[in-house]
Amino acid sequence: MKILVCVKRVVDYNVRIQLRPDGSGVITDGVKMSINPFDEIALEEALRIKESGQADEVVAVSIGAVEAQQQLRTALAMGADRAILVQSGDDAQPLTAARILQRIVEREQPGLVILGKQAIDDDNSQTGQMLAALWGRPQATFASELKLDGETARVTREIDAGMETIEVDLPAVITTDLRLNEPRFVKLPDIMKAKRKPLDTLTLEELEVESGNHLEVGQYEPPAKRERGVMVEDVPALISALNQRGLL
């Protein structure tokens, strides 16, 4: 079985983002970029499945500018067998990303596609579900446990009410939650080895991806700011501050 893993290049989660003064977007020049943390978890899961003998190839896919090759190289260093960059100028919105991934799925015929539950830049949490719909296959979102059993997968999902378990037939789309696993660190020799692994580049034209029906993205603005409040010395002062506000 082949596993396809989606890897999005995003602003590192430790960076405090800044808006462009004209509100046209977020400043990314000179800012640390990384693999979306949920996608690292997706890749780790795929690698563990391969290492357990239940898969024989892990393919990492990214959609974006040529710079996303860096994140794909990291994915190869972590252990992916090969990588595909689908070059697109604009930041692909989830519907477009899902249409592109559908084309890749048609070419690659994976048994599993693992994505992050959300990209931490746009926080959309849509792409996996959309791919599953277009492909007409099951989705198991927000996975915190994944067990493969021949032609099916049993997935535990983190939902608002607790932990839900579902069973899906393969091929299927899985999206990862934070507690699925802890991704491995990349070792130096693996970075060297990764340089020799194949990284192919495809264009939207080659894939004949349907476009359209995008959201038009307008102004970016800072969120309403919460002001720093008062500091109290001790518990009695805390209680009176709460009482003053009529909160007790």
Binding site: N124, M130, S144, D160, E167, G229, V230, V232
Partner: protein, 314 residues
């Protein structure tokens, strides 16, 4: 005027408060509002939905099987019903987040996630980068808008309505490739984290599941729901459904206690709309104090029992 369809969220017997909040958002769009209830036994749920103010019609669709709602099963039914509507809304809870993008893709349209404000017939504000920025997006005017509503941004509509209840007739194949196995709900008779007016949350500093008792005791004294940081969940002190933040629950209680929580941006995004934030932390420089309305620097293992005791006596 365009018609709006809201997908009800429920647990089989009770309508989730997220549905009444979606109605508030829908009212900002203007138009006739219908609610669709998909359930094994929808009658009682439909009656609850029919009471919500401003609802024109409640549509019920009986679901086979365990009664647990699977996105793969619901989405084609909703997509089939969507033709009559300008908008299809669901809550930005795990239920809606799982479901609505699947609906949108079947309709071939983009989806708007986490609507926090309606700014025009097809324009919405939504948070990105863990709430560090707000962006305005506009959906194509000639297509159905599929969106999830950030429930912390809206109050629930009142009750007192008496909408008509009708059966929803859609015919489509329901897939069998996805099967419900079970739900491990965290036992608890404490107030629901997402709708409780008071919430007490604990972080990594609690150190163990046993020590988290301090948080439960204080919460019970206040009649509050209980939350946690990701670090506390990852460390196994509490179950996952208590996580507050970017990748957990987004909440808006009147009163929020952050105890032994540093205030990482991913946590803060979950409490931006809280009324009053109280922070208890032994580090005076912890970022949580930058957003707290009331801050107390101290050791939680002293402060929390003392606070609980004082509340008990007052």
């Amino acid at each position: 005027m365009s018609r709006i369809l809201i997908i009800a969220e429920h647990d089989g017997t009770r309508l989730n408060p997220s549905t009444a909040k979606c109605v508030t958002c829908a009212r900002d769009l203007g138009g006739e509002i219908d609610i669709a209830v998909f359930a094994e036994d929808p009658a009682a749920l439909a009656a609850q939905a029919a009471e919500l103010d401003g609802v024109a019609k409640v549509l019920t669709a009986v679901q086979q099987g365990s009664g647990h709602l699977l996105a793969a099963v619901l989405a084609p039914q909703i997509a089939a019903a969507a033709g009559d509507y300008g908008y299809v809304l669901g809550p930005a809870t795990t239920f809606g987040k799982d479901l609505m993008p699947r609906v949108a893709a079947l309709l071939g349209v983009a989806q708007v996630s986490d609507v926090m404000a309606v700014t025009g017939p097809h324009s919405f504000k939504r948070p990105i980068y863990a709430g560090s920025a707000i962006v305005t997006v506009t959906a194509p005017a000639d297509m159905t808008v599929v969106a999830t509503v950030r429930i912390a941004s809206y109050q629930a509509v009142g009750t007192g309505g008496a909408a008509a209840v009708e059966a929803l007739n859609v015919s489509c194949d329901t897939p069998e490739h996805t099967r419900y196995v079970g739900l491990e709900a965290s036992a608890g008779d404490r107030p629901d984290l997402q709708s409780a007016p008071r919430v007490v949350s604990g972080g990594r500093a609690l150190g163990s599941a046993e020590n988290f008792e301090l948080i439960y005791k204080l919460a019970d004294r206040l009649g509050a729901g209980v939350g946690a940081s990701r670090a506390a969940v990852d460390a196994g002190f509490v179950p996952n459904d208590m996580q507050v933040g970017q990748t957990g629950k987004i909440i808006a209680p009147e009163l929020y206690f952050a105890i032994g929580i540093s205030g990482a941006i991913q946590h803060l995004t979950g409490i931006k709309d809280a009324g009053t934030i109280v922070a208890i932390n032994k580090d005076a420089d912890a970022p949580i104090f930058e957003v707290a309305d009331i801050g107390l620097v101290g050791d939680l293992f002293q402060v929390v029992p003392e606070l609980e005791q004082a509340l008990a006596e007052s």
